[in-house]
Amino acid sequence: MTESSLPTSEPALDAKVPEYSFGRQVKVMSPARQVVRRFSHHRLAMSGLAVFSIITFMAVFAPLVTRYDPNLIVLLDRNQGPSLDHWLGTDRTGRDVYSRVVYAGRVSILVGVVAVAISVVIAMVLGSIAGFFGGRMDMIIMRFTDVIMTFPPVVIFVTVAALAGAGIQNTILVIGLLNWPIPCRLVRAKILSVRETEFVIAARAIGAPTRRIIAIHAMPNVIDVIVVYSTLGMAIAILLEAGLSFLGLGVQQPTSSWGNMLNVARNISVLESAPWLWVPPGVAIVLTVLAVNLIGDGLRDALDPRMKI
């Protein structure tokens, strides 16, 4: 029952009447509304959401908030410090750093969203199969998960990225295809507990096929874990993309990414003499990841504070 159905003639009702007064109208919030309410009261999460919205807005509408083409080379203006013309200066080929940082946001958000989508889909399929069927199937899938998981993430990413070749597409694939073990375990654990609930037993008793039980009864219960993981996974994906690009194994020039903008600072004279080249992309990474992590934290508190992620 929603707020609007409250009789307006009796304003005292919603405040005074305790919940056990049957037969009268009581203000009840739907679970979804409760989650939204709890989230919107989470101050850190809301500031994270605000920061992330601004970053996304700037990335999506990049041409509107920048004055220069990010790939426009103007050799006459190269290596300039920040000025009124170029707010964050120019790089060694005279490209506008501010434009490049803003456009790079597109790469980071794209990589984050698509890579997480890939790993979440794999995790949901494998995790629900493992959890629901158990036995040999479960063992095979979980051992496979162990193989992917035991590896130091960066070591395997560096190796695989180097072997698969650089570029946005491969970076997304590498990150997406190697990041599913954690959500897979989460989904499996949740499915294992859902499998024993009365409503699943009831559905089975009336002869519902397993496919339907998974899709209609089990999946909705996994959504909260997936939502929280997606935010954390996005932070991980953005950091990985930047890391790979920093090492020169991810997104390649001339496309700008925060990671490959940091790459020039591996040269110690650039690091020392041109901080405007590496500080802005660095700040952008930290702000984005911090904002996404705060949103994730707020979502977890709003959905289920006892969730272990």
Partner: protein
């Protein structure tokens, strides 16, 4: 106990096999002639000689046979030779492993010490200003990638303030001196540790808060014991149990951090060796390194679980 360890090792073996197979197949699938890593394509050389070389290296054999060769030699302790220099891979790794262990070990000690201390303080003074400051620090520590803190640390403490050398393993042209080594070690080790401190701190804080709410802590307080004894003897000991598990679980991340930090600080460890191998497409080196690292990680995983069972007598081996 012995049987438990044996079983864990037996489970680890197929995982190890699968990892090496995965990397080996990726190498075969990667575009380009593998011979190019040994002989640059622009090097003038008759085609017949190139083919002879290919045969000699076994590169003309089918994929599975090559993998079989690699496996057989690896089991006998031979990881092959680097494609550019023909230096044995085992020698290349052995020459670099010490530097990485020194770096990671120092970071680990710093991370554990400060992480547990900060986490304990934050839990004991929950919701105080100190707790708030530390929570913010933890969030920043987790959101700042190690390559960024590395660049920042190098810029501020080495280039601007001049407190530490700007990278390297020791001062060039001078004989080995402990003080000099430590001087080079502190900055990169602390930078890798930042993330570790943040993680351990968050974990300790929540473990500590959970324990502080337990009945036996209330009993200890009710007995009239002072706070210090309650916290160190009754609460911390129990809170430390779950923390043991993350100490081992964090080793892969430390190794990842080492790759970036070694590259930024010019630290001659295995992380940089791997990057070198990747850049020159040195397949034997990549293969050998991933194999060694996988062994190390699987071994630490098993050791962590055993250590956990040792410190917590409630856990049974079965």
């Amino acid at each position: 106990m012995g049987r438990y360890i044996l079983r864990r090792v037996l489970i680890a073996l197929p995982i190890l096999l699968a990892i090496t197979f995965l990397i080996f197949s990726l190498q075969s699938l990667s575009p380009g002639d593998p011979l190019n890593a040994y002989l640059p394509p622009d090097q003038p050389m008759p085609q017949a000689q190139r083919e002879a070389m290919r045969r000699q290296l076994g590169l003309d054999k089918p994929f599975l046979i090559r993998y079989g060769y690699w496996l057989r030699e690896t089991l006998q302790g031979n990881l092959g030779v680097r494609s550019k220099t023909f230096q044995p891979v085992t020698d290349a790794i052995a020459a670099r492993v010490g530097a990485t262990l020194l770096l990671m070990g120092t970071s680990m000690v710093i991370g554990i010490t400060f992480g547990i201390a900060f986490g304990m303080l934050a839990a004991v003074r929950q919701y105080s200003i100190l707790d708030g400051v530390m929570t913010i620090f933890a969030f920043l520590g987790i959101s700042m990638p190690v390559y960024l803190t590395g660049l920042l640390g190098l810029y501020i403490f080495a280039l601007r303030l001049g407190w530490f050398p700007a990278g390297g393993y020791s001062t060039a042209g001078q004989p080995f001196a402990l003080g000099d080594r430590l001087h080079h070690l502190v900055l990169p080790a602390v930078i890798i540790a930042i993330n570790y401190i943040a993680q351990t701190m968050r974990y300790t804080r929540s473990a500590m808060l959970e324990v502080l709410g337990q009945d036996y802590v209330r009993t200890a307080r009710a007995k009239g014991l002072n706070d210090r004894v309650v916290i160190s003897r009754h609460a911390l000991r129990n809170a430390l149990l779950p923390i043991v598990t993350i100490l081992g679980a964090y080793i892969p991340n430390l190794l990842g951090g080492a790759i970036f930090i070694e590259s930024i600080f010019g630290w001659p460890g295995v992380g940089r060796l791997l990057l070198d191998g990747v850049e020159s497409r040195d397949f034997p080196l990549i293969m050998g390194l991933t194999f060694v690292l996988a062994v190390v990680i699987l071994a630490t995983n098993i050791m962590t679980d055993v250590a956990y069972a040792l410190v917590d007598p409630r856990i049974r081996f079965d």
